[in-house]
Symmetry: none
Subunit: 301 residues, 2 copies
């Protein structure tokens, strides 16, 4: 019997907790209970049969299987196998880590430590969860694009600008649109061979989806960078790059960790493009570096 390709992703290697967080919003209540149990105690769950896990979480076998499917495995058996791997993994060598949330009365030194740790975690999760095939496809499209339009609002807007800035530096024609109306207006100009990139953590930001839809309809290659790969934005995306969703707290809104994740994805995209256009990118990079040097005050040391 042939293996079946499933919904959204290949079996996750190590970043299972991250995946659970990413997918949690699209889960039903019962499935969330299962996912939570799995993420909370991988080793323990690996020792359980479907029935066992169903009883533990107060749900049914069917729900457990559904959850396994949603997480990207063909069935519970495979999830369990992955879980066993994960368990062995974390048992072998993990630092205790700074798991605590940032509290209102944390001294400033703790804030620095915890925040740095959280961001590191976010980076690791993102890297682990990033689909390199999709990324490669996006890179290929961007490297040869006639022009690249980038959509993002709010915090994601800054990420978009960052990407645009860098792409411009290596001689590509990239533009980050901040005004949704203008974005749509410009999207109409796109055609096959152009690339449109939408950045939205929630995956359902109308202001970003709309221009992407237009670009998609016009035949441009569309890329979505989102934390919700199952969100509406993916409908109009040829390639979906998933950012990781870190746990958030009151003091540390989701926007903060999603930004870290988005920036990593965007950087990878950029470097991939720079590699492919090395002939032109390298001189362009040093040229812009030179140009900047003269903007500094002459005496710097």
């Amino acid at each position: 019997m042939k293996e079946s390709f499933n919904a959204d992703s290949p079996p996750a290697p190590a970043a299972l907790a991250a995946k659970v967080r990413t997918l949690a919003p699209s889960m039903t209540r019962s499935m969330q209970r299962v996912a939570e149990a799995v993420a909370g105690d991988p080793a323990g769950c690996a020792a359980l049969t479907v029935t066992g896990l169903a009883e533990l979480t107060g749900t049914s076998e069917a729900t457990v299987v559904r959850t396994a499917r949603l997480l990207g495995y063909p069935g519970y058996r495979d999830l369990r196998l992955a879980l066993a791997g994960l368990a062995a993994h974390q048992q072998s060598g993990r630092a205790p880590a700074v798991t605590a949330d940032i509290a209102v009365d944390d001294p400033i030194a703790d804030v620095v430590t915890k925040l740095a740790y959280d961001e590191q975690q976010t980076l690791a999760d993102t890297a682990a969860g990033l689909d390199t095939v999709q990324l490669g496809a996006a890179v290929a499209a961007a490297a040869t694009a006639r022009r690249i339009d980038i959509y993002g609002v709010g915090a994601s807007s800054l990420v978009g600008q960052d990407l645009a800035q860098k792409l411009l530096r290596i001689g590509l024609i990239a533009h980050a649109h901040m005004d949704p109306h203008l974005a749509v207006t410009n999207a109409v100009q796109l055609r096959s061979g152009d690339v449109a990139i939408a950045i939205t953590h929630s995956g359902s930001t109308g202001d970003v989806i709309e221009p992407l839809r237009v670009a998609f309809d016009r035949g441009a290659t569309t890329v979505a960078i989102t934390g919700r790969p199952d969100g509406p934005v993916s409908q109009y995306a040829d390639h979906v790059l998933t950012t990781s969703t870190a746990r958030e707290s009151e003091l540390r809104p989701a926007a903060m960790s999603s930004r870290t994740s988005q920036l990593l994805v965007v950087d990878c995209l950029f470097i991939g493009v720079a590699q492919r256009t090395y002939e032109t990118a390298a001189p362009a990079l040093s040229a812009s570096y030179e140009a900047l040097a003269h903007r500094h005050t002459p005496r710097s040391r």
Copy 2:
């Protein structure tokens, strides 16, 4: 009568190959074939069912189960689970090459790994090098400031905008200036009790130093976020927050890692301020969150 009783040990941890060798002499020919296959390719075998492994080794299911028993497991299922763990284990074992620079011909997967690793490193360095006393002072000033002006150009401009966005969200009056001329013009308005923050990696960006100097002269509390604490910008800064300077390569310009570092500093600053103004910050945060929720397209699942 039982067919066999569990030889000598509980589920083997990792030294499976060794166990196979030890027990090999006491095995029958068929069992040896199975054991050999298992020891030779744990990962591959973990993917097989009893029937599959039986076929692969040219034996029967019964023999496979007997072998599993001899190795100390209750049955094949458990051997398989252990095998999966082992596979994950040895796969993670090889994680070198990360230290290498990103090269032009690196496959995209390596780019992701290296980049994530580099950024994690940058975060760790930044956190370690950050002066919490200076940070605390900057936080205290910002939390009670009448208004906060932020200066940054180029890549640093985005960091500044990020900070301004967040401070605005918790009800503070913050503005990120992008135009150097306007920045200076506005800096003249500052006075004691106000805060000016300059962000520059090189520490010698004239366009950023100038407004900070003006703010400094007007009596505002000035903060510099820079990778060169000995640079000209520090001259006019009451508090200097140092960002780390990661090694850069041709494909990965300094701007990229300095951005990561700057963002961490800025986030710490923000959270510190949010802590100090928690009474007003908390409601403001949830309010802006609520407002945003309605901008999304209704159906997201």
